[in-house]
Symmetry: C3
Subunit: 340 residues, 3 copies
């Protein structure tokens, strides 16, 4: 038998019409241990299936007996819920074919079990229904008018927080050591490492994240990952593949600073800075300046993508965009000299 890729027991919400709107996996498991796999394969079929609370309790017991307490955790947490649960067994990390799988993978990311860009997320948009996320839980978008009127009738306030395929991360996963000033800005599927603070203006999409510790006051687009000790200033922008960056997958290294209202369409290595208010697109023409103030070369920003020790500013005397760097960095990065 091949190794299992993933296992989870979840609690789902259905629309009145019976459609699965969302699935909460409190403790998803990636690559369960050999002992856990044997128990899972014995009790649960591959794919998505229904699991009674009694079966979940029994499964938890068997997993614990087999020494797989980790894999038992999700079952145990949900075993007291008085409705059928959702079991998910994935043999491989394949394209997504169900709502449960989509939610499972998003929760793997937010539980820090997978880094952004390491999971197969093909098909995710098709499998995620658009949902009205309300103060009374997930409601089908075509059922929301009736819900609003029903609330009026009984004197309740029904607040719609968002209408989206993706819920807010914090209603599913609360990672340790993190501060999130406005939870509506973090989609489920975001990866927030230990020590990360996302301020009110920060935003993190699914399959995107900050390794931590980080201060995030800007936007981390889908597919973008930010390294340790990097700060994103207020309203700063990273171009994602879904948001105008085309095929370039932006990544930001460690100890970088992207200033307030600045942005980048190229990747940055470590110890890079973009001054406040400056947007570097891949086509921006940049003068590369050494530490003596001499111009080393002129390049399109995309040629500098991923290099370290760069300081991008708009020279306020010449108004040209400069990349200041030190000789050590220039030497280190052969690429930087490639087109001299």
């Amino acid at each position: 038998m091949s190794e299992l890729f993933g296992f989870g027991v979840g609690h789902s919400t259905q629309s009145r019409a019976g459609k699965t709107l969302e699935v909460y996996f409190p403790a998803p498991v990636k690559h369960p241990s050999g002992a856990a796999q044997r128990v899972i394969r014995e009790h649960v079929s591959v794919g998505v299936s229904s699991l009674s609370p009694a079966s979940a309790a029994k499964l938890a017991g068997n997993l614990i007996d087999a020494g797989a307490a980790d894999a038992a955790r999700g079952c145990s947490l949900l075993a007291e819920i008085d409705k059928p649960l959702t079991a998910l067994v994935l043999e491989n990390d394949e394209a997504i074919r169900s709502t449960a799988e989509a939610y499972f993978k998003l929760q793997l990311l937010s539980h820090r079990l997978s880094l952004p860009n390491t999971l197969n997320l093909e098909g995710i948009f098709a499998q995620l229904p658009n949902v009205a996320w309300t103060s009374e839980g997930a409601i089908g978008v075509d059922e929301i008018e009736a819900a609003l009127i029903s609330a009026r009738r009984t004197g309740r306030q029904l607040t719609v927080h968002c209408l989206d395929k993706f819920p807010r991360m914090t209603d599913y996963v609360i990672p340790t050591g993190v501060r999130i000033a406005d939870a509506s800005r973090i989609r489920l599927g975001a990866y927030l490492g230990e020590g990360t603070t996302v301020m009110h203006e920060g935003f993190v999409n699914f399959n995107a994240g900050a390794i931590g510790p980080n201060m995030v006051e800007g936007r981390i687009s889908q597919g973008v990952i930010v390294g340790e000790h990097t700060d994103l200033g207020g309203s700063s922008s990273t171009m994602g593949t879904l948001s105008g960056g085309g095929n370039i997958k932006v990544s930001i290294g460690r100890y970088c600073l992207i200033g307030a209202n600045a942005g980048t369409g190229i990747s940055l290595g470590d110890r890079c800075t973009i001054e406040a208010g400056l947007y570097i697109t891949s086509g921006t023409v940049v003068d590369v300046i050494d530490e003596d103030g001499n111009r080393v070369r002129t390049a399109k920003a995309r040629e500098l993508s991923g290099l370290s020790d760069m300081l991008f500013i708009r020279n306020s005397r010449t108004s040209k965009v400069e990349c200041r760097t030190n000789r050590a960095a220039i030497k280190l990065n052969e690429q930087l000299h490639a087109h001299n």
Copy 2:
């Protein structure tokens, strides 16, 4: 008899002091049919009036009998509510003289029954009370302290979502085919066409909107309208008449792209692009460049307002703002050559 402009039956919230805070019209009607008008005029007086649930049920029945099921819908939806309803009959689209009228017109916009800038909204600020929008519904701002303490006393959490004259659209209208990642960013009175996605950083004011389909990650100010297939990048800005744009009413055409952190104080026709990070104000001096790279003329951006096929960039070699366009576009747009 003249034609009626509008008709609605709504459910309102009063403050403890008896002031109308808001009115929900689940199915507002613009220009009711002749049959509907005859029934309405027979049963309801012009202006704002109170309607018992029993009268609403009867009115609904009469409208249906007259073949005006559309006009009956609002009555039917609310007829089971056990408190007096609000009926509104408007003969003309005049300046707003009541809270009910203000809410009616805002809901016409969000129900896509009227485009932005087509309704008489004079007096709207005076007729909209400032309200504390809370997890327990609309509360008068001078009654919120008592409500906070009452909640503490009984162990409830009272969350204040906003203090504003305008509520969030989604607590009133959920248009079809729309995604809204953060509902607190869309005011009632926004017009969101089919196929519009508003991401977390997007914002749409009242009397403003996107025809759809659109991707909105920037701010659509009051009075601004965005054409089909246009994308607004993250934090991009459109100047509204309430927000620094003065008398110029900005509109954005179809197939445009306003880059992340960019902005415009002029209107754009179709197929225009503003590169990420560039703000075009009406006074920005722009070199107009043809497809051979030759400068055709130099103009203030306001002279280009509303033209099509323009690409605005800051030339990163010369640092000047350029409007690149093709000869076809130049020929097409006589205005563009007017001051050559």
Copy 3:
């Protein structure tokens, strides 16, 4: 006996583990009157103490009898709550040593009893626990998983609004004459003066604020204060000491306009404008231009910090950043000529 600095009676939330998560002081008092001080010292010990509702009622009565109705207000408001209250007596404005003190000072600011930068906030981060602010109130971050599962079990929706040391202001203080379009953007400890409107894109940190009247569509960072009649455009940025501004404490005077997507790392006096999209950092080289269009001098922006009557633009012909000012302003501001 020395004068008392502060007095408050509050209602607190404890985590299941017994830790104080937050304290609500409905009517905090700064510098109580002599009569109030005598009653307070007689009934309440200095520092943080527990107060039964009965004692609170008695204290309120005694304060009223002594002619100190203001100081009695907090006791009276909370006296009907059926759990021990928190009393706080501060002799001096010293470094913060308890969660109650931190909350007391943040509420002094939001109640407009203290201006930003006038209170000793040393130690505040250490004394504020990180809290999950939810639709069911404050929950310890290590207790939130259990709460999420408990909510699922009983069919409730538990929404986590934020995970932060600071709650939203409006769940504690609703200042008069203010509109706040998205309450999640205003931290407790913000100072919002009469007549201030904070739009959806506005943000105000703790120990920061707007004197009012103001239109705030940009970000007011920690330590920053904005004068009367000043507008901050959408997404505009003020650098705070916590957010990249280093040691410079930015303040903005009266009748200023910071354009949309613009920003400043220097202070502005009165009647200053920064055009939309322009970010002035302290190191920006600026040509100072008089009203005849002549260059008076070239300076780093930090040399102009705090001056009045400045208009900052990027000249779209030369692409240089200019500070345009009038001769009167130049004469008035000797500093401006200092390095001629």
